[in-house]
Subunit: 394 residues, 2 copies
Amino acid sequence: MTMIGPENVDQARLLRLLRDDGPRSRVELTDALGLPRARFGVEVERLAAQGLVEVAGPAASRGGRRSSLLRIAGQVRFGAVIVGEGQLDVALTDGELSVLARHAEPIDVRLGPEAVVGRAIELLAKLRVEAGPARLTGVGVALPAPVAVRDGTPVSPPALPGWRQFPVRDTIAAELGCPVQVDNDANVMALGEQHAGTGRAFDDFLYVKLGNAIGCGLVLGGALYRGATSGAGDIGHLQLAEDGPLCVCGNTGCVEAYCGDAALVRQAVTAARAGRSAALGDRLAAAGTLTIADVAGAATGGDPTAQTLVRDGARRLGQVLVGLVSFVNPGIVIIGGAAPGIGPVLLAEIRGVVYRRSAPLATGSMPIVLSDLGDEAGPVGAARLISDQIFATR
Amino acid sequence: MTMIGPENVDQARLLRLLRDDGPRSRVELTDALGLPRARFGVEVERLAAQGLVEVAGPAASRGGRRSSLLRIAGQVRFGAVIVGEGQLDVALTDGELSVLARHAEPIDVRLGPEAVVGRAIELLAKLRVEAGPARLTGVGVALPAPVAVRDGTPVSPPALPGWRQFPVRDTIAAELGCPVQVDNDANVMALGEQHAGTGRAFDDFLYVKLGNAIGCGLVLGGALYRGATSGAGDIGHLQLAEDGPLCVCGNTGCVEAYCGDAALVRQAVTAARAGRSAALGDRLAAAGTLTIADVAGAATGGDPTAQTLVRDGARRLGQVLVGLVSFVNPGIVIIGGAAPGIGPVLLAEIRGVVYRRSAPLATGSMPIVLSDLGDEAGPVGAARLISDQIFATR
């Protein structure tokens, strides 16, 4: 495996500056790093020799000596693989983590890890042809499951039957000959928010990922926080009530059993069959099944039963957030993965619960917002995940 | 104000090494810091000139050239002020944070901040006479309230009426002419655990402080985590049930209203008056009042009513911990402030709830233990608080 990357802390800082802020002049960078000019020149040359940094052209004059612009080399490519429960989403980014090429397709994760990982590798190869000649510098992978990040494997994944301890990282790394990092999808999307979303302005934020599974990524003190065994943010199976609905995990009253997409759809089907909602009943009759988009559509269309379902789920989620927010005192909470159209209703309910109940020091001025990254959070976050690893000293 | 402290990162690391690990040889320290020998010598001289480091004698020979032992200078003193709801606890430590002199006395915090802070300054002066000539290098202060750490003031403190936004830090600093840092008591005790307790072996732990007020200190990634506005760990007023008992804060069903010492005592008095416990009734009749020590004594003496009270409180606390532990995935949970004798009962109940309900990745091998520091956690933690600030680059 070709191991490229910074040789010291200054090179690592330079790479992250160029990744996060884009091309900058030598003068600015020398100042930002606080290095003597000669030493700065040496570090840049070493990174250029590795194909990581290049000259982008002359910098705008600041009155004195002309300076040149530096940037992450154009041949740097990060791969991003987002495994969803029903979808495989693969992308290639440049060194500033802009998506250059992307392909998503339906997939059945129950086919097992070999099939899904194999298909992801095929898709990466196709995208590399599309995006033009370059070097695959590393690949970030998001799984809809708790991940033992040190091992690069999923842990007891209810959503990924048959994937338990499959060596996702090592399999892809062996096949592609580059560094690979694997993490939980909520963590990856939090990294996407940190790089390109509202999270960029905050050192401390929570990213709550909605969907069939509900997870949370914690960015604390400017870095993703994974906890002692990379289990931080694993909130989907917290028990809200012992006598609550049955969850896929086998317990009762879990967060996901109240507010996960599948749980909302299940309740919507029950309501439609019982004749409690004409809108849901019509959709069910037409398609033979309901999706979260149907529930969202009915709710935004004014159906009171669908609205109640969405509001009840959001209120339960708000109850969980009250505790988390008081506990870690984030600067902002960002909510991603909301079904189209229901964001405002969700936010209103969640804010109502959180602001009413949290400790004043934790929520005095804490915003709760919807992610504005949409489905870019995954690919950008996966690229950030692997670039954080490569653009660091080992 | 005399500002002393390290001039660069290497000096700061050297001071923290000597503080945390005690006297070490020049050879070991040079290796640990990865500095050229000549450069190391320069940094040591500069710290010695400031009176922060001194030679402690010759080091044990490692076969080669004799090396000398360095240590934090003997004249370094940290002051510690722990304001409790009913007690003022003041101590002086040396540069390795060992307590040299200490005085605790009952106090009524409702006398107001001027009186209490004034008395703490008097006591520090007395202790400085006792402990012998030295220089007061800095003072750490713990308050039983949320603290705006950046401002050095308590925030909306239910336990400290009249203290709201009183400039605790600046008042003490102006009086004593040295740096002062103020924080919440649970945070300070977590720092004590990190320095001298079970927490020393963990990068990520939660310290839960029991008492009338219940708080939590979070050490994450090796450092105290305070959140965006220093409100992290503020768990005492999370609502466990809307129809729960009335809390001192005015809401219902707060954690403190179930498991705080004052809440347990209140329930014990009710039980004693209702004739539901002979043991508690006898104690109440004899003293006219009950304390948490009475409840603990009755429970450890086998009184079933007192045992039920303690167990119910512990179970409620366990329910809160389930969420926190799943959320931050700490390496260990340390519980401090338990009334004498009831630790084992508390632990058994808390462990029962947490291990049964938490996400497996978060608690697979996570210990829950009682603090073994006893009442040293406060003074050591307050000294650590201010020494962390002084032994850092500004």
